[in-house]
């Protein structure tokens, strides 16, 4: 969906340009810059500015920009994870503290580094897709959409509109169940058990919709290069899906009214892990984490490719930058996603055949997709046989680790889960 927004530019572009990712391909150092204001993604050779995630050699803790020692009487650091309730994944944090207060947090992401980028080089795109879908299972539709679009771009395929719309439906469903899941986890952390159960039940209903219309609870395997196997053929099925999704969104709104008026719940979130707009911009936060701090970043807005180019997507932002702001953004996005789904399903174009190879393919493409936790970037190159020459992934979580770590400074331990869940971070979603 992106090619026309990619410009090749100088290493130091004019204006407010953020470096978003950088990688090596074919012996060249390439960087992807983002010009949010003008909706451009700029590719340039050479590394314009060292970014934190580049400094993380595989298998080492992320060295943050504020790495180094913590000193002072009574301070110590300890490792939280990789088997910890608050993380639920094979990942850990090195927390420096003097007891109770987090002085510094360093995420350790190497526990599940699988080396997907290295593995897929030389693979056929459809084989690589299997790995990418399973890179972060709960963001599978975003990965699949991003990858397939990039491959189509690189090949110069004309893809039927219907396939693009199917993918958008999947991505929005994924956004809804992930946001609902975040709420369930936050409510559980605040011991709001009824609310947590109800949110979990709503999430389960979306998963069942996924299974019914896309053949898989986590949307694995519905997409392919130039194709989609979603079962949305008839008007009736589309209406059913829409009714299901709207019912979930409606009940979720009711649940939110209760939860966000609960003093106990709000107390845990208000002022927790505050991320200023300056830090969010400077550190390149993405997704609800950025929007919660007032940064107007949403790929669906900035790069409105089909079908988002003629569908209204409300841009939800908050100013406070705390966990509550991030959750509020998520709560509203559940509703806005339901509205987007309504438009997508009402105006779904008729299906057509698989597109044929058009001209203009450059064997190279960059694609960005707004997943549930934010901007997912993939840059890939194809060789002459249509195999992947290289693939670079910049997952949304990878962009948010440092903003998260910075926001956590000064929090107390009990804030940890409320902060962590509100960012929607995942260690699986860090395998660049």
């Amino acid at each position: 969906m992106i090619r026309r927004f990619v410009e090749r530019g100088p290493a130091r572009a004019e204006g407010p340009v953020q470096p978003s990712a950088s990688f090596s391909a074919g012996g060249r150092h390439l960087s992807i810059l983002t010009d949010t204001d003008r909706g451009r993604t700029i590719l340039c050779e050479a590394q314009p500015e060292e970014r934190p995630w580049q400094r993380a050699p595989p298998g080492s803790p992320l060295e943050l920009e504020h790495g180094g020692q913590v000193g002072g009487y009574g301070t110590f650091s300890f490792q939280y994870g990789p088997v910890a309730y608050g993380v639920q994944e094979a990942g850990a944090f090195k927390l420096a503290t003097y007891g109770e207060r987090v002085v510094k947090a360093v995420p350790i992401v190497n526990y599940k580094k699988r080396g997907i980028e290295g593995r897929v080089a030389g693979m056929k795109p459809e084989d690589a897709l299997l790995l990418l879908e399973r890179s972060a299972g709960h963001f599978s539709a975003s990965y699949s959409t991003c990858f397939c679009t990039a491959v189509e771009d690189a090949l110069g395929l004309d893809v039927p509109s219907r396939v693009l719309w199917d993918r958008a439906v999947a991505v929005e469903l994924e956004r809804i169940y992930n946001h609902v899941h975040v709420f369930a986890r936050e409510a559980e952390a605040a011991s709001q058990n009824v609310a947590a159960s109800q949110a979990n039940a709503l999430g389960e209903r979306v998963l069942r919709l996924n299974a019914k219309y896309f053949g898989h609870r986590y949307l694995f395997g519905f997409g392919g290069v130039g194709t989609s196997s979603a079962d949305l053929g008839t008007q009736g099925r589309r209406r059913e899906l829409l009714a299901g999704a709207r019912a979930v969104a409606g009940e979720f709104a009711g649940l939110m009214d209760g939860l966000l008026s609960s003093r106990i719940f709000l107390d845990r979130l208000q002022g927790t892990a505050r991320l200023s707009k300056e830090d969010a911009t400077r550190l390149g936060a993405v997704g609800p984490a950025a929007r919660g701090s007032g940064v107007e970043a949403d790929d669906r807005h900035v790069y409105p490719a089909e079908p988002y180019h003629d569908i209204f997507v409300s841009l939800e932002t908050e100013r406070e930058g705390d966990s509550l702001a991030r959750l509020t953004v998520r709560a509203r996005e559940v509703q806005s996603s339901a509205m987007v789904l309504q438009e997508l399903l009402d105006r779904m174009p008729p299906s057509g055949g698989v597109g044929s190879r058009g001209d203009g393919g450059e064997d190279f493409a960059i694609c960005r997709t707004e997943g549930p936790s934010g901007d997912l970037i993939m840059a890939l190159g194809l060789d002459g046989q249509g195999r992947l020459a290289f693939l670079h992934v910049r997952p949304s979580s990878a962009a948010n680790w440092i903003p998260f770590a910075i926001s956590l400074e000064g929090s107390v331990f009990t804030d940890f889960q409320f902060a962590y869940e509100s960012f929607g971070l995942s260690f699986a979603d860090s395998d660049g």
Partner: protein
């Protein structure tokens, strides 16, 4: 206030395994490839990305349900594949009775299995009613439920966790990744199938296994479900 909200929703929980399942209750993401009459095994084997189709049989532990073998005449119907248990699992019935404390250990998953494991707690499945509980420390755990493709960086942790558990202890490998490595078996990070690192008692196929499949696997350890 919240109690009322809760009551207003009525009962969502499935009657499984006491009662059968209503058709719309069956959550499916794992469809076992079933050869139809004219299935082409050789072609299926060629299409299969994980080597689950070998000779004339389907290895459920490798299948990631990508549905590619559709072109070779395989259909995707019937019940999700059930858990597979070792002999030792029968011991559990005697010692553990009706209470299981489960430590969930992610050894390198994509988070899909983690999500499904968490879903066991949602009102549709409510595993607490069956006497199954999560615990956060291996020292209280009866069962180690491992998900994901065992990563090299997690091998030590897995062994350490297993060592820390009190006897009798049981290990469940959930998902194709834990059983065989799935699509990740050739990545740099992948160490080995779970069974090569610690003794595995129950294996649950699926990518990811659905909550009901996980429930089946755990009930097998409690001795409340017979191995198929």
């Amino acid at each position: 206030m919240w109690v009322l909200r809760g009551l207003r929703k009525g009962i969502l929980t499935t009657g499984y395994p006491g009662k059968g399942l209503a058709p719309d209750e069956v959550p499916r993401s794992s469809f076992p490839p079933t050869p139809s009459a004219d299935a082409d095994w050789a072609k299926g084997g060629g299409l299969c990305p994980t080597g689950a189709i070998q000779g004339e049989r389907v290895d459920a532990g490798r299948c990631v349900y990508c549905r590619r073998c559709k072109d070779a005449g395989f259909r995707f119907e019937g019940p999700a594949p059930g858990p597979m248990a070792s002999e030792r699992a029968a011991l559990a019935r005697r010692v553990l009775g009706r209470s299981l404390h489960v430590l969930v250990l992610d050894v390198g998953s994509c988070n899909g299995c983690n999500m499904e494991v968490l879903n066991l707690a949602n009102p549709y499945y409510d595993f607490n009613r069956l006497g199954i509980f999560f615990t956060n420390t291996p020292k209280h755990a009866d069962v180690l439920l491992a998900v994901g493709a065992l990563n090299k960086a997690m091998v030590e942790t897995l062994k350490r966790t297993y060592e820390s558990m009190p006897e009798p202890k049981f290990v469940v490998a959930a998902g194709a990744c834990a059983m065989s490595g799935g699509v990740f078996k050739d990545t740099d990070g992948f160490a080995s199938p779970l069974g090569d690192a610690v003794p595995v008692d129950v294996e649950i196929p699926g990518c990811p296994p659905t909550p009901l499949q996980l429930l089946d696997g755990l009930l097998l350890i409690g001795g409340r479900r017979r191995a198929p």
